[in-house]
């Protein structure tokens, strides 16, 4: 009784009620707190720590040295090997992102149709994504082996001069981009498919009634309607593409992106800085430069995909409005 009384004294609520109140207000935060705690420990702290490291002469093994301010950023940005890695990354990114997104959209559009055994096809496009990237890289490295790999064999049979996939710059980029495309096209196709499935079917029906063909419906309805998802896919592909590491690393296990850095990407450059060359400060600076590059290119892609998609969406708005004018099934 007395505790109950005391409880009432404070604000007129019982302890239980207070607890319930606290539960009501705090629980959601507690429920989501694991994410934020994990993010703080595994995400935020390393990011801040990396800034700290990047401002020092920092030997991987011996640790912190002298404070040099932005020195590591300057040496990195004036290093021809960094720009070589930058160029390779962009090249591989373009060779993978563009065909991948085009193919993913087409595959998604096909899967969006009423086809037989659709679940089977949807599952199978996701299969490459399930394969471990290491396994993918090992298999493709064998396929693209310039010394007697299957592709070389086919080219030889056709009387074509063997392509030096592992040695020349552009062929090596194609080989690496192929691994990326193989792995990610199905994944992106499924995401785009989900967006396409959310488009109300009656829009298509009305468009068809208006005499819009398949292509016209695809360009004027599907593409504009999946715009937010498309932007999401473009952004994630950008982040993934610019951080590419496993495929070029395993394409030649002996070096960090080819003996002559033919396919050294920025992350491989970062890796070479951090481990074989033990310059942790420059590796940290490279990480931050890469971060800024990703943001810049991400914004650029966002802007591009917005303008492309929004030109069509204006036209698209007319489709539902026309529908409201016409009585349901009026043309039949």
């Amino acid at each position: 009784m007395s505790t109950l009384q005391a409880g009432r004294g404070g604000g007129g609520l019982t302890f239980r009620q207070k607890l319930a109140n606290f539960d009501y207000k705090a629980s959601p935060y507690i429920y989501i707190s694991p994410f934020f705690i994990l993010f703080a420990v595994l995400g935020l702290f390393p990011i801040i720590y990396t800034v700290n490291v990047s401002l020092y002469n920092w030997d991987l093994l011996k640790g912190q040295g002298d404070f040099i301010g932005l020195g590591n950023y300057v040496t990195t940005l004036t290093d021809p090997f960094f720009w070589n890695a930058f160029g390779n990354t962009i090249s591989i990114f373009l060779l993978s992102a563009i065909p991948q997104l085009v193919a993913a959209t087409v595959i998604a559009a096909v899967l969006d149709q009423a086809i037989r055994a659709s679940t089977f096809w949807r599952m199978s496009v996701l299969l490459p994504y399930i394969a471990a990237p290491v396994a993918v890289a090992v298999i493709f490295t064998q396929i693209f082996n310039q010394y007697g790999g299957p592709i070389t064999g086919i080219l030889e049979a056709l009387g074509i001069e063997p392509i030096r996939w592992g040695f020349d710059v552009f062929p090596s980029h194609i080989a690496i981009a192929t691994m990326v495309n193989w792995r990610w096209t199905g994944y992106n196709a499924l995401i785009l498919l989900a967006a396409m499935q959310a488009i109300p079917r009656d829009i298509y029906e009305s468009a068809a009634l208006d005499g819009a063909g398949r292509a016209r419906r695809f360009w004027s309805i599907t593409i504009p309607m999946i715009r937010p998802t498309m932007i999401f896919v473009v952004i994630t592909a950008t982040i993934g593409g610019l951080q590419i590491f496993t495929e070029p690393k395993l394409f030649d296990g002996q070096s960090n992106g080819g003996a002559n850095r033919q396919f050294q990407t920025i992350v491989l450059y970062l890796y070479e800085m951090a481990f074989p060359r033990r310059d942790f400060g420059r590796a940290a600076a490279t990480a931050w430069i890469l971060f800024l590059i990703i943001i810049l290119i991400g914004l650029l892609n966002y802007a591009i995909s917005r303008t492309i998609a929004s030109q069509d969406i204006k036209r698209n708005i007319r489709v539902p409005s026309r529908k409201t004018v016409r009585p349901n099934g009026g043309l039949k």
Partner: protein, 431 residues
């Protein structure tokens, strides 16, 4: 030492396993564990060191000890792995294999490893070749690495192909044909030119091996004896060797430096520089148990004796069972086990008694060559060169790319090759 590239999966899987092993290895705790309590010791090795086959015997002798082993694909993978874990201050296996190529870097942070003198290594000091023991000792006299193998070099060669070309194909005949004890790189390449002219086939697979051997033969390599002053820019000997390699690039197969399996099986090259640990690499081109491939092993190296590579075992300071780990490391590095490892994979013992134990060893794969005797002969007068902190960067990233482009026929004159190397040196190495 570098090893042939197998599948890169091995490295990746091994990397993940390391983590798992480290986690499980930390379960039992405390330094004062009585010796009969079950203990798990972790060990990380690389390439074909021949010691993996010894663990079982050790476990049998020490029933309370379980060995969890990780084998990384090559020295480079092991280096990156060890550096990352030393930097993190945690995660090193109890016993860690260290390669000569990055030993000088480890020496600078040798306190990451225990002083093996605390665990009785000094009682066995006289077992080792003096220079090998000294390599594992830091500036303060702490012994951070127990020597395993050394890399005296001979030549692996295809006797059958030489004979088919009308050239001497037996061990002594081939050695004599390239100049015997006085063989020079010039006389070696002359033989190669003759072979290619007569057979129409390439002589060697990739020139980097001749380059590395030559560098190791010099009294001072990429660094002066102090281990800090670079010794490259005015080095006429190095420049001369690069010239010689460019001039003889026409008899190369243009094969990859590591993992030339296809080319070997297709008889596309006939000679291979073989430090002791490389015998396992050549065998690796073929299926296990294969013999009669025509490979043989000769007691000769153009330019004189040289050591290429060699490994050490260190016990990490962070190990929870330093005593037991040190016991294991010293046991693995003992003459008897070095001899056993040699018989499995070919790394030549760095202990005198170990060398005696393998003196009569022969190798059926290499046409029954008396490998023990040949390596003992090849090891005579060998002293490891002083390596500097950036030695592996210079080898892999300065001369490596240039040799690769020579190999691919993209650089065809010595002057260009040298200038490209110097440009890379200036870009990559702080001077």
């Amino acid at each position: 030492m570098k090893f042939s590239r197998r599948t890169a999966t091995v490295a990746a899987i091994a990397g993940t396993t390391t983590l798992a092993l480290v986690l499980t290895g930390c379960q039992t705790g405390g330094d004062e564990t009585p010796s009969d309590e079950p203990i798990t010791l972790t060990i990380t090795t690389f390439g074909t060191m021949g010691i993996d086959s010894l663990y079982e015997a050790y476990e049998k002798e020490h029933p309370n000890i379980t060995i969890e082993a990780t084998n990384l694909e090559n020295g480079g993978a092991a280096r990156d792995d060890a550096y990352a874990k030393i930097a993190a201050g945690t995660g090193l296996s109890d016993v860690v294999a260290i390669e000569e190529g990055w030993l000088s870097t480890i020496r600078e942070v040798s306190d990451a490893f225990v002083d093996l003198r605390d665990f009785g290594i000094e009682d066995h000091k006289s077992d080792w070749l003096d220079w090998k023991y000294a390599q594992g000792t830091d500036a303060d006299g702490r012994v951070f690495g127990a020597g395993l193998d050394i890399g005296p070099q001979g030549l692996c060669f295809r006797g059958d192909l030489f004979e088919a070309a009308g050239l001497p194909g037996d061990r002594d005949g081939f050695a004599e044909a390239i100049g015997g004890a006085n063989a020079t790189w010039e006389s070696f390449f002359e033989f190669g030119q003759e072979y290619t002219a007569k057979s129409g086939k390439a002589f060697f697979h990739h020139p980097s091996f001749f380059w590395n051997s030559f560098v190791n033969q010099q009294e001072e390599g990429y660094y002066k004896k102090d281990g800090t002053t670079l010794n490259i820019k005015d080095n006429a000997a190095l420049k001369g060797q690069l010239n010689l390699i460019v001039d003889n690039a026409n008899i190369g197969a243009g094969a990859p430096a590591w993992g030339a399996t296809e080319q070997a099986r297709n008889d596309e090259f006939a000679v291979y520089v073989c430090p002791s640990w490389m015998l396992g690499v050549v065998k690796g081109f073929y299926d296990a148990g294969t013999t009669g491939t025509g490979w043989d092993f000769a007691d000769v190296l153009p330019g004189g004796a040289a050591n290429w590579g060699g490994a050490f075992l260190g016990v990490s300071e962070s190990s929870e069972h330093q005593k037991e780990a040190a016991d294991l490391a010293l046991w693995l590095a003992s003459p008897e086990q070095q001899a056993a490892a040699f018989k499995v994979a070919g790394p030549f013992p760095s202990t005198l008694k170990g060398q005696e134990l393998v003196a009569d060893a022969t190798d059926p794969f290499f046409n029954d060559a008396p490998t023990g005797e040949i390596f003992a002969s090849r090891a005579k007068g060998v002293v490891a060169q002083v390596k500097g902190p950036e030695d592996s960067v210079i080898q892999d990233n300065v001369f490596g790319p240039v040799l690769d482009r020579i190999n691919q026929g993209e650089i065809t004159d010595g002057e260009t090759a040298w200038n490209e190397a110097i440009t890379l040196l200036d870009q990559l190495v702080k001077q």
